[in-house]
Amino acid sequence: DAGVTQSPTHLIKTRGQHVTLRCSPISGHKSVSWYQQVLGQGPQFIFQYYEKEERGRGNFPDRFSARQFPNYSSELNVNALLLGDSALYLCASSQYEQGWYEQYFGPGTRLTVT
């Protein structure tokens, strides 16, 4: 079975631009979460969606938004990019609604903002 897939793998953007990151969960998984990981830190929770509804939101500005589609894939959008948004963006999927159950992470999208 395919694992969680994310696209693109790498991305370079300029300050002020907008970016869309995409995630496809493991087949049968209805929960998708997004995390941001800056160098040297653990992943930080951004959003969780379950059955197309937002179930959790981390401490991130409104420039960050997401949605989940009927096929359970998801997009993370970031507007007005700042240099500090440079990070590895991880998507995780799970069978379960609650976040602490086993989650499967994708390889991430490396975003560089210049």
Binding site: V4, P43, Q44, E97, Q98, G99, W100, E102
Partner: protein, 111 residues
Amino acid sequence: LAKTTQPISMDSYEGQEVNITCSHNNIATNDYITWYQQFPSQGPRFIIQGYKTKVTNEVASLFIPADRKSSTLSLPRVSLSDTAVYYCLVDSGAGSYQLTFGKGTKLSVIP
């Protein structure tokens, strides 16, 4: 959320058993302990989860004493491919939709 404390880094030689201890003094009754492993430029991978005593799977063992204020992840006979960052997470999951990661422990396996 229970705060966790882990060593920042550890070194080990190939073939040795490695034990990484995590302190969680204010763990709540309903909290579970979960460990994730992360290789460079990859997403974290679930290793093991437990509530009390000992849990073992094909990858690792998790030892949790009776007071549950700490836990130890044990990796038997490590190889170079076990070089990674290991995260200890403590949460009940009740009403929780997120995993809360600290900085983790960077394990370096030396030939």
